[in-house]
């Protein structure tokens, strides 16, 4: 199968993405960028890690190459491989190599999903060498000062299989993300979900309730992203309770009893 070469210009972010800072994460990330240190973002799903990277890339005016990691991701998927094109073997850069060459920001999302041997390839890039060896071509790429590496992971899985290697994590400046404080979250849901203040407040209240159900069998509560999606459904004319059921309850769990309890929360709040 032939694939068109990846083009870096497609990864430029033209318009300012909406991002509401919750602390000093922006200052730290910018400092890390200028000091050429890689970034590690951790936090629960849907709390704004990816949006933060987009915003950072926009502020720094660098292209953002995002790779969603999965357990079949191999080193060649990141670095690149030879492809056969009209009878000739042609080298094609992977997203990581492309980002290094172009001095872009490479963001490896959910890095723990990738196998541990794959992630080792980023080690020389993540320390002061800032090098990417491409073994198959016998090439050693040195990253330009504009290049930045960022990875993210969700420590909430609590599975030993899905933990980050210490040798990997010790190379990064770590930023911890969490769901925003209620007032900020209301603002975000208002703006992104296109809701009025009162509705956004109730949705955030609902999310807060679901986030405390860890011991009742809900490992992760409703994320800000889910609330925004609910808001969008409501905006399209879906009745509130149906929207909550579709975008929050059903998205969170399959457990009939928990679903029932979530429904009760929804029907109490709205």
């Amino acid at each position: 199968m032939l694939r068109p070469p990846l083009r870096i210009d497609e990864h430029r972010i033209e318009h300012e993405p909406y991002y509401l800072p919750t602390g000093d994460e922006l200052a730290i990330a910018e400092a890390a960028y200028y000091e050429r240190a890689p970034l590690l973002l951790k936090g629960p799903t849907g709390c704004g890690k990816t949006r933060f990277m987009q915003y950072l890339a926009w502020r720094l005016q660098r292209p953002l190459v995002t790779v969603s990691c999965h357990d079949d991701l191999s080193t060649s998927d990141l670095v690149g491989r030879y492809l056969i094109r009209s009878g000739e073997a042609v080298w094609t850069d992977g997203p990581l190599t492309m980002a290094v060459r172009a001095g872009a920001i490479c963001y490896l999302d959910e890095i723990v999903e990738a196998r541990k041997d794959t992630t080792v390839v980023i080690h020389p890039l993540a320390d002061d060498r800032r090098e990417l060896p491409i073994e198959k071509r016998g090439e050693l790429l040195t990253a330009p000062p504009e290049f930045m590496l960022a990875i993210s992971y969700n420590p909430g899985y609590q599975s030993i299989l899905k933990d980050l290697k210490t040798s990997t994590r010790q190379r990064f400046i770590a930023l911890s993300f969490d769901y925003p404080a209620p007032e900020k979250e209301i603002e975000i849901v208002c703006r992104e979900g296109g809701l009025d203040l009162e509705m956004a407040r109730s949705l955030v209240k609902l999310a807060a309730m679901t986030r405390t159900l860890k011991d009742s069998g809900l490992p992760e509560g409703a994320s800000t992203r889910l609330l925004i999606q609910t808001g969008k459904l409501i905006g399209r004319g879906i009745p509130i309770q149906t929207a909550c059921r579709a975008a929050v309850s059903e998205a969170l769990t399959d457990d009939v009893e928990l679903l029932g309890a979530l429904d009760e929360m929804v029907s109490s709040l709205f």
Partner: protein, 758 residues
């Protein structure tokens, strides 16, 4: 039918038991008048009840006749099922109460006309209230709604409304209201504390100071109810919108009383918005205005206290006698005393825990410091000399600019900065929130304890056989009634002592050659990486395929696009538990062989990356089922594990099913593609009580079926002299193997594991 015939039939049913003839006659006499068809039905249930309890069976016989008249054939066994459940939860008395209404209630419920019971809705309401509160607030069945701030009690049944939808809504309203009373500060002490909390709740003290204490209490609760309802309207508008339909229909004491007092009138006004009765009196008008003030947004319980203070002097003793007026159904009584006791208990627990953790922490720090210093003796002497005058100072290490006080992250003791652990910081924070300060004597006693108790605590290793985790309760399957005995068996995990013996060395020596061979075999099962050629996509180019393709192109043949090579990894994602019978019957050769087999399997497993755990089980009676962790799933095969294998020995009985259920629940926390449960036993499950024969076999079989339903592969290895018919039934044909020669077991076991997992 005459009594003699009945007796004969009865003795036939309960054979081989020979119960006292007097009892039998007494129990059977009410049945004499019944028709023989019905007696047949009643007798048909005896085999299910007799083994559970003889006295229950007698009680059943004397009362079942009339009940069975009113029940359809298929309802009878359900009724007996419920009866057994009641007996097991509420004892003989509970069963008698259940039988007393001659099945009326049961029938109504069965036909969908009864009320709603708490246990039916608890699974829905419990997470609901946890979500509301952000912490676990247990829901407990009782006779009315109330709370002690840790739990919420609810009536065990609500049958106020014809439809269960509305009954459920009332449950939900009760839960939400009780939660609101905690959340919105119904129990907050008055601003000027009148009495210390040592003797009674400050609110209680406040009421005691009023002219009519009981009235003050009722009035306060009423105003608070008004305030909480408006709080709920604001916080949970959806709920209150729905509840608006049931609130006016809730019963009031005033509906049935001959004369209405002021509280009755106020309650009516609050629920039904009917204030006409209040028009006549000035006091009532005043109360109405005060209620409105309490309902106002931003009011707190001080507003209600002020309202009480304002209204009470206007009431005469006669007017204020509201003894006959019950609280509203969702309101319930105020449990101030219990709340105070809970608070004091929690405070004491926190104090003890803080002192214990801090003293331990100081000791650890000292040990660390001493290790690095030669002159430790001197420093410890001075430390001991100065305790008692220790000065503690809370040091806030973070900046003070924030609004909330920053957490205490370190303490200054003996002029030394001592950083606190996360746990201690949290505790200190809780104490400070409760008391306002971190009392100095907590720290003094902790330092004192750290000075004295040094040796005692450092040697505090867990004692042998001590329960290492909380006991867990499991259901048991009763085949006779085709249902579970609810919460029947209590399983406790107990630590095995580590035993130093030459057993391991001897075994390793004896099976030296075999172990080497097994390791080789097991090595071949390890995760394999291999190149898969001729793929459409891959990491590298498959040169052979490429050459062929190019040749094909030149020859004008259609070329293949499979020119890549891919590295395929086959991962073994296996978790296995070995469950080992430690019953008395394994004494001698069988136990020895099992232990040897465990050593062999451990030695072989070490070359694999499979996760595995070993648990032994034994026990006596349903309340003492014991599991002995030999190796937990993620534990290393260490010296301690080897010594624990050495310590495996015959204990008591073989109640296998609870152990299997416990392993199933352990597996629930394990993420693996294949989950394997290997049970090693020497025969039939059996316990000291009635757990034997068919009952035990069916229960074990059911436990295995439950495991299978949860995606676990059970496999049973039985060591016995001859194979029994029940084995295939209990374990399933393909899920078990029978070994008649004990000495073959050690060799066979790794082999079995290998076959199972490849």
């Amino acid at each position: 039918m005459d009594l003699e015939t009945l007796k004969i039939q009865f003795y036939e049913r309960v054979f081989p038991s020979l119960p006292n003839e007097w009892d039998v006659e007494e129990a059977l006499s009410p049945l004499v008048a019944q028709e023989s068809v019905q007696i047949e039905d009643v007798f048909a249930q005896i085999p299910a009840i007799w083994p559970v309890s003889h006295s229950l069976c007698f009680a059943y016989l004397s009362m079942a006749g009339p009940v069975f008249c009113s029940l359809a054939a298929e309802e009878q066994s359900l009724w007996v099922h419920t009866l057994l459940d009641r007996y097991e939860t509420g004892g003989l008395h509970g069963a008698q109460v259940f039988m007393a209404d001659r099945g009326q209630h049961f029938v109504r419920r069965l036909r969908g006309q009864g009320g709603l019971r708490l246990f039916e809705v608890r699974s829905r309401l419990q997470p609901y209230v946890n979500g509301l509160a952000g912490r676990e607030i247990l829901l407990i069945a009782s006779d009315c709604a109330s709370t002690d701030t840790e739990c919420i009690t609810l009536p065990s049944e609500i049958a106020l409304f014809a439809s269960n939808k509305e009954n459920f809504l009332l449950y939900k309203l009760m839960v939400s209201f009780q939660w609101a009373s905690i959340e919105a500060g119904l129990f907050t002490p008055p601003r000027c504390p009148l009495l210390s909390e040592e003797t009674s709740h400050p609110l209680e003290a406040f009421f005691g100071d009023c002219t009519l204490p009981t009235t003050a209490r009722q009035l306060y609760h009423f105003f608070e109810t008004g305030r909480l309802l408006s709080y709920l309207r604001q916080e949970l508008p959806g709920l209150m919108r729905k509840a608006a339909s049931i609130l006016p229909r809730l019963p009031l004491t005033g509906d049935t009383a001959e004369t209405e007092n002021l509280l009755d009138q106020l309650q009516r006004g609050l629920l039904r918005d009917d204030w006409t009765a209040l028009n006549g009196s000035i006091v009532a008008q005043g109360a109405f205005k005060l209620l409105r003030r309490c309902e106002h947004k931003g009011a707190d319980n001080q507003t209600s206290l002020d309202a009480v203070r304002e209204l009470l002097p206007l009431l005469t003793e006669e007017e204020g006698d509201w003894a006959g007026t019950a609280p509203l159904v969702f309101q319930g009584p105020l449990r101030l005393q219990e709340i105070r006791e809970l608070r004091m208990k929690r405070r004491r627990e926190r104090e003890l825990q803080f002192i214990k953790s801090l003293s331990l922490h100081i000791q650890q720090l000292r040990v660390k410091a001493d290790a690095g210093r030669e002159d430790d003796q001197e420093s410890r002497n001075t430390a001991a000399g100065r305790q008692g005058q220790d000065l503690a100072l809370i040091v806030n290490t973070e900046n003070e600019t924030r609004q909330t006080p920053p957490p205490t992250t370190s303490l200054r003791i003996e002029n030394q900065e001592i950083p606190l652990t996360e746990e201690l910081t949290k505790l200190a924070e809780e104490i400070r929130r409760d008391l306002g300060v971190l009392p100095e004597d907590y720290i003094t006693s902790a330092t004192g304890k750290a000075g004295h108790g040094f040796k005692a605590t450092s040697a505090a290793a867990p004692a042998e056989g001590q329960g290492s985790t909380e006991p867990v309760v499991y259901d048991e399957w009763d085949y006779r009634r085709k249902g579970y005995r609810k919460q029947w068996c209590v399983v406790t995990e107990k630590a095995l002592p580590t035993l130093q013996s030459s057993f391991i060395e001897q075994t390793l020596q004896q099976y030296k050659g075999q172990i080497r061979r097994l390791r080789n075999q097991f090595e071949q099962m390890r995760t394999s990486e291999r190149f898969v050629r001729r793929q459409r996509e891959g990491n590298d180019i498959d040169l052979d395929a490429l050459v062929e393709t190019l040749a094909d192109i030149h020859a004008g043949r259609p070329p293949s696009d499979r020119v890549f090579i891919r590295l395929a990894r086959e991962q073994r994602d296996i978790a296995a538990y070995f469950l080992v019978d430690m019953s008395n019957s394994t004494a001698g050769w069988v136990g020895q062989a099992i232990k040897e087999a465990l050593v062999l399997i451990c030695e072989s497993m070490e070359v694999l990356n499979d996760r595995y755990g070993i648990y032994g089980f034994s026990g006596m009676r349903r309340l003492r089922c014991e599991l002995f962790p030999v190796k937990r799933l993620d534990e290393r095969y260490s010296l301690a594990v080897r010594q624990r294998i050495g310590a495996i020995g015959p204990k008591e009985y073989t109640r296998m099913a609870p152990a299997i259920r416990h392993m199933t629940s352990l597996f629930a926390k394990v993420e693996a593609k294949i989950r394997l449960l290997i049970v090693l036993s020497d025969g039939k499950p059996e316990d000291y009580d009635d757990y034997k024969g068919e009952y035990a076999i069916e229960d074990t079989r059911h436990a295995l079926l439950e495991a299978k339903a949860k995606g676990i592969h059970p496999f049973c290895i039985t060591i016995d002299r001859k194979a029994h018919d029940y084995m295939a039934h209990m374990y399933g044909e393909v899920n078990s193997i029978f070994i008649d020669e004990v000495r073959h077991l050690p060799a066979r076991m790794p082999e079995i594991y290998r076959t199972l997992t490849t």
